[in-house]
Structures are given as C-alpha cells and as structure tokens.
Point group: C2
C-alpha cells in the first residue's frame, strides 16, 4: 500500500498541542483510506533556538525537503521577541519557506454558518463569506535585496528593504491564482498599489498578460488601500484574491478576522514541484500555551489541505473536513469560538470528538 512521509514541526506555544491532535487525525484517516503515514517530528522556531541555537536547523529543513509534506504548528513567543534578526523564530519560518520554494500561499477565509455570530461584522455582512487569498510567499519585500542598515549622506542611520518582483515570479503566482479561481467561482481580484509603486505596475502588467490564458476567469484589479476597505464593507464581493507577500500578509489576516474564527483557518504553501508546507494561520498564542485551551481545528483543516494539495488524497481530506463540521454541529466549541448553548471543551477533547466524527 502507498506510504507517505510527513514532517511534523510542532514549534512553540500551542504548536505542540495542536500538532499532536492533528497527527492522530492523519493517522486515522490514513488507515481508513488504506495508506500509510510515517511521521518525523523535528525542532523549529523558538524550540529549535533553545535546543540547538538556530531557528531552522539543517536537519529540519532536510527532513521537510525529503518528506512528502510538512505540517507546522506555530512559532514565536515573547521570550525570543528581542532576539537579533538571525536568531528570531520568524527568520526560521522565512528560511523554511525559501528552502522549500513554496511561493504560493493559499489562505481561505470562510464564514461557517455554525460560527457566523463569532464575527464582529453584522450577520448580513458576514454570512456567506467564502474567499481565498493567494499570497506570493517567497519574494517581494520579505526577501528583496539590498536590505539592512547604513548611514545616509547626512550621517544619519537608515534602515532599508527592497520590494522587487521579476516577471517569472508574478507569472507563476498569477497562474496558481487563476487555476484556483477557476475551481471556485471564477472571479479573481488582483491587489496592488500600481498608482504609486513600480513593482506593482509590473505586477499588474503581468497578471493582465497571464489573464489571456484564462478567458473563463473574470479578472479585476484593486488598490490595496481600497481592498482593505472593501473587505470590511462587503467581503462577499470577493472570490479569489491574488497579491504580493506583504499585502497578502496584511489582507489575509484582516480577512481571517472578518470570519471571527481565526482558530479555524488553515493554509497551504505550495511550490512548483516538491513538498508543500501546511500550517494554521493563527500564531503560537503563548498566553494559553500548555493549558489545553487551544482550538485544534485550524490545524486539522491544515492537515486536510495537506492531504488534498500535498498528497492528492482527496477522500481522506474530505473525511477530516466533514468531521470538523460534524463536531461543530454536535455543539463542541473551544473557548475562542464558544457561545451560550454550546459545549466548552479543551484542545484534547475537541481532538477526540473530531476522531469520533471521522
């Protein structure tokens, strides 16, 4: 029977708790669908800094590269916040994304009917929101050179970064976005700041050029400031959004909060070939770490994305997705999404209920 290697990166804060729950779910659906999964658990982020002094040990990157897919919990915490840049947990995450060349970050933001009240938006604005942010993940200002510190002609210290995109980087993320939109409702909105930035002007030009390969997808363009407004005004207008690394960072977090249930949202980071990286979009939540309070559903749904996009095991993915919905329908809620009339459970118990539903 088929067998897959999965690298697990529990990371920091609530990471280990949510990963352990998701691991059980992967194990179970594998046995039900008749394939094998072998796990390799590796240190990453603050945990790796404490253990071996770097945020992404070589062995961790090697394991991720040689795996069929990697599932990450979360990284970071107050303890390492004032570290120098090369010793920040976040730097390890950026090195992992770059090392795996996962340039396409898919971030769905869906308002589940069960959780529509969790949104701070009015019910009629929030209900039915179902959008996907396709964020470029290995380019732009996150990786652009030159970068660093220097002194200007007046002897003043300066800090600088470079926002830069080459045509091939834009073309490949645009294609992923058009493919994604095609499988959804056929609408793609490209977000940029082409009225000011040259990097955005090239972005808009290339996205427009690639559009001719996808005549069935309806393309529109929007400035990033307007997009930040429109997500609040009427998020339902969006189907698929494609944008650069930094705008995608901001807009996908805004979109996730619009759903009101950030503890529910998964993400997939994919490359041209090679294994993908899957992670919940929430952070390491150090304030509730180790207290069995975390919501493991975002990691469960990330495991489902891993099965679907990473291994091509659609049926196993659907089993997890259906089980998550069923568990919500049966009234179980962790603290972050709890409201009157529902059963408040911890991370472990939520995990066990999902296993029952599977």
């Amino acid at each position: 029977s088929k067998s897959y290697n999965i690298t697990l990166l529990p990371g920091d804060g609530i990471g280990p708790e949510v990963i352990s729950v998701a691991k059980n779910a992967l194990q179970l659906v594998a046995s039900l669908e008749g394939f094998e999964v072998a796990f390799e658990e590796m240190p990453m982020g603050g945990a790796a800094l404490d253990a071996v002094g770097v945020p992404l040990p070589d062995e961790t990157l090697k394991s991720a590269k040689q795996s069929d897919a990697t599932l990450l919990g979360a990284i970071g915490g107050y303890k390492w916040d004032n570290n120098e840049k090369h010793l920040k947990p976040e730097t390890g995450l950026l090195q992992l994304r770059e090392g795996l060349q996962v340039f396409a970050n898919l971030r769905p933001a869906t308002v589940l009917p069960q959780l529509v009240d969790a949104s701070t938006l009015k019910k009629e604005v929030a209900e039915g929101v179902d959008l996907m942010v396709v964020r470029e993940l290995t380019g732009g200002i996150y990786f652009g050179k030159p970068r660093g510190f220097s002194t200007n002609e007046n002897g003043q210290e300066i800090g600088f970064n470079t926002e830069v995109y080459a045509t091939y980087e834009i073309d490949r993320i645009a294609r992923i976005a058009f493919e994604t939109a095609r499988k959804r409702r056929g609408k793609l909105c490209s977000v940029d700041k082409a009225n000011v930035l040259e990097a955005s002007m090239l972005w808009r030009k290339r996205v427009t050029a690639i559009a001719s390969e996808y005549p069935d997808v309806e393309l529109s363009h929007m400035y990033v400031d307007n997009a930040a407004m429109q997500l609040v005004r009427n998020p339902k207008q969006f189907d698929t959004i494609v944008t650069n690394n930094i705008f995608g960072d901001i807009l996908s977090d805004e979109a996730s909060m619009i759903t009101g249930s950030i503890g529910m949202l998964p993400s997939a980071s994919l490359g041209e070939t090679g294994p993908g990286l899957f992670e919940p979009i929430h952070g390491s939540a150090p304030d509730i770490a180790g207290q069995d309070k975390a919501n493991p559903l975002a990691t469960m749904l990330s495991a489902a994305m891993l099965l679907k996009y990473g291994l091509g095991e659609e049926k196993a993915a659907q089993r997890i997705e259906a089980a998550v919905l069923d568990t919500l329908n049966r009234g179980f809620r962790t603290g972050d999404i709890h409201s009157a009339g529902h059963k408040l459970v911890g991370c472990k118990e939520m995990g066990e209920e999902v296993l029952k539903s599977i």
Copy 2:
C-alpha cells in the same frame, strides 16, 4: 483685521462640488470670527493634466507654498488610470505632499452616535470608536530610491521600490504622534513589521527612544498584520496609531471603513513649518461626479482641521464641527449615509443646511 490666503484645489470628480460648499463655510465662519480669507483656486490632478498637461503645475505648487493653508477636494478618475506614471493624477498629489514637506498625515476615524448604524460592524463593536492614525507621508516606499524597472541576471524584467527610513524622519513623525496622543487619551500604538523588515526595526528602535521624552504617554508596538486584524476585532482598543507611509495608507482606509461613513472623514497633512494640506480622505468618486450627490461633510470637517491646525483659528473650527453635528441631528443625510427616517439631500442642500447651523 487678520487675513489668510487659502489655496483651493478642487481637482477631479466630486472635488469641485465639495470644495465649493466648504468654501462658503470658511467664508461664513471667518466673518463671524472677524478675520478675512482670500481664496486662490488652482488646477490639480486630472483637471490640470487636461488643462496644461501635468498633474501638478508649477503655479499650483507655488500658490500652495505661499498660502497659509491648502484645501484639496479629490483627484483621479478612470480617464487617467492608464497614464504613464509621471502623467497620473496621483503623481501630482505625491509631488504636492513632497513639495510642501507635509510629512505628518493625521487621519481621525470616529464613529458618530448619529451614524453608528452605517458601520458594517456590530453596534457594540463600532460605537464609541474614536481613533487617530498618524501616517508618515513623505518617506518610505512611496519616495524611496532606487526605484524603477530593470532586468535581472536572467534577463527577466523586474520592477522595484525601496522602503527606507532615516532616524530624523522617524523621530519627527514619532514626536507628532506622541503630542497627538498626549492631547487625546494618552495611548500610542506604533505599527510596523519589525519581525521581518530592517526599515521597521529602525522604526521601532527610534519610536522607543523618543518615548522617553513622553513619559505620560503609554506606548505599545504591534505588527501590521495583527493591527489589520485588531481594527476589525476591537477597534476601540486604539487611541492614536503611528505608522509608515504604506501601512498608514492601508490601515487608515480600513479604519475609515470601520466607521461606515467614509464620506465624513477629514485629514490634515502637516510639515515642520510652512503651510499644511487638508483634504477629505474619500476619493473623487467619478461615478457620482456632477450629480449633486456627494457628501460634503468630510470636506467641511477638513476645512475645520485647516482652521484649527493650519490657521490656529480654534473657535472658527469648532463652529464648523458643531454645525456638522447639528445638521446631522436635524436629520439631514446625503445618499452615502442615508437611512430610513432621515431627510435625503444633495451636496448643495447639505452645504446650505450646515451654513444655517453655523
């Protein structure tokens, strides 16, 4: 008696309509408070492109520089959207900001009790929101060099921009922000991406250093992605926000939409010395231009900011602010903020009602 020169830049779209209404209000409060105002109306944006072929004619910049303050309507429109960069209306606005050296952009976002229902956020989340975004306006990626287009080592076209801040640029905007917070509720949140960008690391370091001059102001730091979330989750947590040019562009628009009444929001752009620039934060709304449908209140309130920050005429400013509230209390609404039970009026009539209230 005192006399002030005010440059008026009607600009494009609804710009001329809202400026003409605000001009009457300035005229009226001047006569009531016993000072004179002389207006010089100059072309700017698309209107200037059509008239003389550049978005900011030299005479326009000269008039603004020699004035005591400048009031701008709005610029831009579909007609000029595909112009080359140096022939875009937006480029004229950036040249004006740079020419006047107005590095501090104050953008209040307030939910008025009269208009709380206009927000897409739940009433309990929206009511009482009263925050101020202090955006750096003449630096960062908007103006950083090098910028442009080039080819990389593989012969691929690239587009690039430079995000760069020098200590003096951060120090001066930080001081304005601390002063602003001190006059408000004493809380300042500095927004950056210091976990990734060197320009943000320097930003955080300098803001932290300047904080020692303002021991009475409580300073916090937040990453921009988190700030975009927190504005949706709980906007009331914010008093004053200080951030760079591009993050300020995005977050101030998001914040303004949270109030639900973007047609109500003014802005002030101030320099170290020299005249300021005052403008509504809404755009030129070409779809309703010339139809007497625009909401002139944002421009009225911008005129109030001009009186207060630009001319030091606090009492005249208060007259306009009070009149705007009184007009709302008397039930008058333009289309963008209209709801059942209120009197729907056009731009001109709204202007006349404010004059009556004054």
